[in-house]
């Protein structure tokens, strides 16, 4: 028996039996098969775009929250109303509150106050003495991101970051 594409196939092949079972012609179902081949590629593009969109959205949130944290820290100097005894903890809380859609425990914080050694911690009790009127405070944050399609990651390490330097009131 000769098929449309010129190949000989046994009459009792699986393809022939399926065609007979469903009363299909030689070309019936081609679009279905071709669509099944193409659809995974399309879905990969769409889910990839979605993955990037989430990362970009998180980056914008992180930038805005870091700005809010910086503005909060610039008024936390001892002597001002609401003076702090733990600038790292209070600033991190302000950032977490400003970014409710980010996982609170995943936000990394580094504070640099008045040019001193940067402090990378969630708590730095007693370091409020580094807050000096008219000096600079730099708030730097990081947040992990995942860029993956079908569970396959584009990059092994992906980290969002934001930084702002404020004037200490």
């Amino acid at each position: 028996m000769k098929t449309d594409c010129g190949l000989r196939k046994p009459a009792n092949s699986l393809a022939h039996r399926l065609r007979r079972l469903f009363h299909l012609g030689a070309d019936d179902g081609n679009a279905l098969v071709e669509m099944a081949l193409v659809l995974p590629v399309f879905l990969a593009f769409v889910t990839g775009i979605g993955s990037f969109a989430i990362a970009l959205g998180n980056q914008i949130t992180l930038i805005q929250a870091t700005g809010s944290g910086g503005q909060y820290l610039q008024q936390l100097r001892p002597g001002n109303s609401g003076g702090t005894t733990d600038p790292c903890k209070d600033t991190l809380t302000a950032i977490e509150n400003a970014a409710p859609n980010l996982a609170p425990g995943s936000i990394g914080l580094t504070l640099t106050m008045n040019g001193n050694t940067p402090i990378k911690a969630t708590s730095c009790s007693g370091k409020q003495t580094q807050l000096v009127e008219g000096a600079t405070v730099t708030v730097a944050t990081t947040y992990p991101c995942t860029l993956s399609v079908y569970g396959v990651k584009f990059a092994n390490s992906c980290q969002l970051s934001a930084q702002v330097t404020e004037y200490e009131y």
Binding site: E34, M35, F42, A53, L56, I60, G67, G70, Y167, Y169
Partner: protein
């Protein structure tokens, strides 16, 4: 030549095999274009958010300096220093 083209077109239309391929090619170009456009918009929004943060810091620095020193002499310098 013209007959050959017409003949090819007739065969291509009549043959149901491979119809999805050209449709997919066109869709892929459109999809990639939209993906690239969305990435550009995303990067623009990030730049806008950074710029707004720096502008806020600059304004607050200048205001703080005016408040602390009661003069406007250094305000613009402080605004410049905190704008990036």
């Amino acid at each position: 030549m013209r007959n050959a083209v017409i003949s090819f077109a007739r065969k291509a239309i009549a043959d149901q095999r491979g119809q999805i391929l050209p449709i997919s090619a066109v869709m892929l170009v459109a999809l990639l274009s939209l993906g690239g456009l969305s990435m550009d918009f995303g990067r623009a929004y990030i730049a806008q958010a950074r710029l707004q943060t720096y502008a806020n810091a600059a304004a607050l620095a200048a205001a703080g300096e005016v408040y602390n020193t009661s003069t406007t002499n250094n305000a613009s310098t402080y605004a410049d220093n905190y704008s990036a």
